[in-house]
Symmetry: C2
Subunit: 168 residues, 2 copies
DNA sequence: TTGAACTTTCAAAATTAATTGAAAATATTT
DNA sequence: AAATATTTTCAATTAATTTTGAAAGTTCAA
């Protein structure tokens, strides 16, 4: 396998993985491409590498920047914008975790909280069973939430520990 | 909020959550419906509750059974099949974790492994950088894999502990 | 201010995924 | 074996998402 074949293969696989994770195939491919790129790439570079349109590159790169895992870089003397992916996969994981937590877990927690306010006859067994199910979902969601918070906190303190050591 | 409104609301929210997790909206809704149902439901019950076609119910219920979070139950004297969701949300979480691990993490691990076999000039800095990126991805994926295995193992042993206590 | 280089937007087109519903298959009862 | 009840399949349709590309917008050097 040559270098280019290997890159191609990884980009492909990353795209497939992405699409089962609520990330569009193309967005995941752009990310993978930037991840294995030896240096920052311009819109045109990406267009050519993945054979997709300018608009498509623009939108996906912007989404990746919204997720905080791709950055715009300006090369001195160049007018074009270049993009690079954070090469530290742990930072990427933290970012994605934070974003998904915010976008998905937190909304469902709010819904569960709101549902808990249901005023109904607790002696009705159907109401009781429903209340229990919701209670369980809440416990579960809260547990997931703190697990994720721990993960984020652990990774971040590890990150800062590294920084502190450098500047000491 | 009445009981029915609360159920409706939860089903809706669960469907939205599902669609950002690579699960189709309808499949997540069927799951939520069964989760809050006071008893097992027939295909027709589900059709009516969610206003979807027979074929659609059939496919989604079958998928949920493939995921191992919904079971077929036969009521004595009834010809129809009924379905119920596992009410233990932890078991659901384990099942989903297992399945997603198998369907998503393991394939990407295989790809990364295969890519590692790339035969190329290690002195070429581009090759070296790529090899490092792949190495990092591998470390990350392996770490995720063992984290998930731990989660599954912890939950399962907890589950068996409960069973053992019962039969002792 | 102009125009060239580059980026962004967005309506339309293409693609992909989900859904329907009726027909075929299967199972059950008489 | 025939009639009946129920489930499954799948081609056609519908819906949702993604992509395109050309036009509009922006930036900046001259």
């Amino acid at each position: 396998m040559t270098l280019d074949e290997a890159k191609q293969y990884l980009i492909q696989a990353w795209g497939t993985l992405g699409s089962s994770w609520g990330v569009s195939r193309t967005m995941a491919q752009v990310h993978a491409l930037l991840l294995v790129a030896p240096s920052a790439m311009s819109t045109e570079d990406i267009m050519e590498a993945l054979q997709i349109s300018r608009g498509n590159v623009n939108m996906n790169v912007r989404d990746l920047m919204d997720w905080g895992i791709v950055k715009k870089v300006l090369k001195p003397g160049e007018r074009k914008e270049f993009f690079e992916a954070d090469k530290d996969i742990w930072k990427v994981a933290i970012q994605i975790t934070k974003e998904r937590k915010k976008r998905e877990l937190e909304p469902i927690l709010r819904v569960l909280e709101e549902i808990s306010t249901i005023e109904a006859d607790i002696t009705d067994p159907e109401v009781k069973q429903f209340a229990e199910t919701v209670e369980n979902l809440k416990k579960f969601a809260n547990n997931a939430d703190s697990t994720l918070n721990n993960f984020i906190r652990a990774e971040e303190s590890w990150f800062w520990a590294g920084i502190l050591k450098l500047i000491k």
